[in-house]
Amino acid sequence: MNVLDLDYMLGLIPVLLKYLPLTLEMAAAGMVLALVLACLLAVIRVLKVPVLDRFAMLFISFFRGTPLLVQLFLFYYGLPQLMSSLTAINGITATIMGLTMHFSAYMAESIRAAIVGVDRSQTEAALSIGMTNAQLMRRIVLPQATRIAVPTLMNYFLDMIKATSLAFTLGVTELMGSAQKEAAGSFLYFEAFIIVAIIYRGIVELLSWLQRYLEHRLNRAYSR
């Protein structure tokens, strides 16, 4: 059995880390957009807005029911074929679109559950003092739903960071793509991919700390 080439591995770290910002940027953009879309979907579903509710259900079931990779290929290869104005949709854009839609479908469901989880009698109390639906959502329900939803949403964010690695199948040279290239040149596949794995693991660990800190802060809020 061959011994791992440690020098090569150490040398690879700075090379691969150069691509980390792109990975994080795609994840951050995807997360922000997915959160906005998920909130919209969740509110539509909670309020059972006519017509839009049907559309939201369809959207959610499609993006939860099909693999992310298939969705990415649809956006990257399929869309330009339908709409000629998109002839060259770039891989990064397609990845962000795919991540946004895919994860917003999951996040919409957990946000909806969190909204429904806020004690219904508080909604009635808010209405009874003359608040409008919008005021009651903004001031009473959403702040509490956030507290319920944050742990799950953070987990989706971690999943999303890992899922950005699929961008390399669309020709994007991000963390995974760069490792793939390096390995193809050196034939040291195991070394290259174990370094990628370690880098992903490191990010996830860092963010888990952030998650625990956030949850601690949020839990402290109402218990005094």
């Binding site: 508080q122 009635e124 003092i129 509490q144």
Partner: protein, 248 residues
């Protein structure tokens, strides 16, 4: 100043309120009693449209709302003239005691925050919880939570406060403080419509007691009369059960 005309509520085929007519004068304290499931909560909830009545007319002050033709604006206006105290307190869990009370003034009446909090502090003083301003509902006892619930209703300056069994979720040891506060409000001539199983409260505080059964007002009168000399057999039967010591 509060007037209900022919108020009806149906759930599907089930008639819960079968034409309620009721006038309440300014400053009057009206207690509603009756067996379980006869529509007492529904009556209160219809008055501020937490439930939409099927038919009838509701007047509070100078505002009259017809159940059959209401606009969103009417409903908001009606809710702003009434206040509700819930059986399970229903305090906003994400707000401390002070902000539970100030919320309406800040959001609905659009007072500046400081002025609203100042008013909320005065109310906390009146309900005897000045030292709990910063406390969140989760850290208050049931009795304290319900007093904040009443404080929240007081802050609305509503023409009438609707109480739905305000003491029935409380442990016996906390029960006294809530009727105590309600009696204080009564002395200040706050108009109140109270659903309760506390017959002693009805007897001591009410100007008028209404007995409801099957979605109708069966009998009403001053507590001294209704309790000692009920005319309808259903009233007599009900009172015999809830006032075992007072067999009529």
């Amino acid at each position: 100043m509060i007037q209900l005309k022919g108020l009806r509520k149906e759930y599907g085929k089930q008639t819960v309120l079968d034409g309620i007519d009721l006038d309440i004068a300014k400053g009057e304290i009206v207690v509603v009693i009756g067996p379980s499931g006869t529509g007492k909560s529904t009556l209160l909830r219809c008055i501020n449209f937490l439930e939409t009545p099927t038919a009838g007319e509701i007047t509070v002050g100078d505002l009259t709302v017809d159940a059959c033709s209401t606009s969103r604006k009417d409903i908001l206006a009606l809710r702003r003239r009434t206040a509700f105290v819930f059986q399970n307190y229903a305090l906003f869990a994400n707000k401390n005691a002070l902000d539970n009370i100030a919320e309406r003034l800040i959001v609905v009446d659009r007072w500046p925050k400081e002025k609203a909090r100042q008013k909320a502090r005065e109310i906390l003083q009146r309900i005897g919880l000045a030292d709990k301003a910063e406390a969140y509902p989760a850290s208050l006892s049931g009795g304290q939570q319900q007093r904040v619930g009443i404080g929240r209703a007081m802050a609305t300056g509503a023409e009438v406060i609707l109480f739905d069994e305000p003491t029935s979720s409380l442990d016996p040891e906390w029960v006294e403080e809530v009727p105590g506060l309600m009696k204080q409000l009564a002395r200040e001539h706050q108009t109140m419509l109270v659903v309760t199983h506390e017959m002693s409260f009805a007897r001591d505080v009410a100007d008028r007691v209404i007995f409801v059964d099957g979605g109708r007002i069966v009998e009403q009168g001053p507590p001294s009369e209704l309790f000692s000399n009920p005319r309808d057999p259903r009233t007599r039967d009900f009172l015999r059960k809830v006032l075992p010591d007072q067999t009529a």
